[in-house]
Symmetry: C2
Subunit: 271 residues, 2 copies
């Protein structure tokens, strides 16, 4: 492993930029190479088979560019492809966002009643139920598929009547799976959702704590790289690759990154 190499970060599109942002804040000396598979997004409604195939192709591209570690910054791809990627790339440490998200929820929840908003495919995989059960026995976890939140986030339609009505719909379906008032933690189980956090908080109310994977994923990356593999200085570059529509990637990506992104900062790649 070359400690000066970049950390590779991969998502179906721009949602993973919320994880990239946390990595940037936590590890400012690291070079980051981000790939958004915008030609085939979203992953959240696709089958396990397709998501796995796409994840393998994306990892091949990042690996060819010489990364020292891979972060799967997409919940659906983490649910379906983490094990396979670890097997096919035995020399490349691979981190997903499911376990870090589960950990954040377990640390935050007092009651152990944890709700998860995620994509259709992540919910179908039961990924958070399994991961939280491994970490905290007796936890009660329910998930709701919230596909339209991806569209709202992608459109940058983050507040107002429509996002709030959509959130109310999905949250209603989720909270009714718990005894009244018992869910005290809401896990945003899709990297698109943190940009909607303010509206979600408003609907969920003050008794429900929101968590996502971004911060705990950055901590996990730091832990895995360890003192010997963390870069000490001189890095801090971020490069962006996208498989389609660099102009759209830059425009929408700015919302997730929290700062403007120009199309000429994004390189178009073929898978």
């Amino acid at each position: 492993m070359n400690r000066d190499a970049a950390i590779g970060v991969f998502d179906s599109g721009v949602g993973g930029l919320t994880v990239l942002r946390a990595l940037r804040e936590k590890l400012p000396e690291e070079n980051l190479l981000y790939l958004g598979d915008t030609a085939r997004l979203p992953y959240g409604t696709k089958s396990a088979r397709s998501v796995l195939q796409y994840a393998l192709q994306a990892t091949r591209i990042l690996d060819k560019r010489g990364i020292k570690m891979l972060v799967i910054a997409c919940n659906t791809a983490s649910a379906y492809a983490l094990d396979a990627l670890s097997e096919t790339h035995p020399d490349l440490p691979v981190v997903g966002v499911i376990a870090p998200g589960a950990q954040a929820a377990c640390e935050t929840s007092k009651s152990g009643r944890i709700g998860v908003l995620a994509t259709e495919s992540t919910v179908r995989a039961g990924a958070y139920e399994k991961s939280i059960a491994n970490m905290r026995s007796g936890a009660e976890v329910h998930s709701s598929a919230s596909p339209l939140l991806v569209g709202l986030a992608e459109e940058g339609w983050l507040a107002g009547e429509v996002p709030e009505a959509v959130i109310r719909h999905y949250l209603g379906a989720l909270t009714e799976k718990f005894a009244p008032g018992q869910m005290d933690c809401l896990l945003l189980g899709c990297t698109h959702f943190p940009v909607l956090a303010k509206s979600i908080e408003k609907i969920a109310g003050p008794d429900v704590a929101l968590v996502d994977s971004a911060h705990t994923t950055a901590i996990e990356v730091e832990k895995i790289l360890g003192a010997n593999q963390l870069r000490r200085s001189g890095g801090g570059q971020i490069r962006f690759l996208a498989t389609d529509g660099v102009a759209r990637f830059a425009r929408v990506g700015g919302v997730f990154l929290g700062k403007p992104l120009e199309p000429d900062q994004v390189e178009l790649v073929d898978l």
Copy 2:
């Protein structure tokens, strides 16, 4: 051309089933072979380059199975790939949904003030503006990108507070481009949108006539095939191909087809 061969129908996913349904009603003796590119949907936010590449691959699959004609039952693919498909398949008559939709709007509108709801990529192509200008001089056409309507249609979330709020948002942005009360025709410029027609009608009000491409596309297909190539009897089979998630295709597809569809009626194909 083999008159007994099927008519190929191609869409990014299930939206094109609204066109398939119209073909079925208009031409009940024809065999129909439908391909939904569910592995890469939606097309409406993808670049011209990707949509063209996907359309070429899909057409290759249908052509290999021996179709006598191709219907591009997707507005975005019609906008970006119709000319290229006609060039690469000179022996295959190719019909898109843009010209038939434009024709339906021109026939329906009295004022010539026509609004179009479509995907981001169809709007960016200016496809309906160009097509209507060719058919009716002096027409005033404005389009609004309505990406969330695709998600709502895909979820089968067709009525109630949320769909109506989303429709109100997009329709508001569209009607304000016209002088008050002048838009008298609303063209549903995405094959997903007809399943939302009732909610759209409710918001648009009684002075705005809704049209879509499905019926006029079926008429165009009948015209192009002509008496010599139309099948007279003994057909009426429909076969479905999908590039991903046959269970999801069947479940969501039933909404568009207007009748239940079973997963074992759908064949998974690789592009």
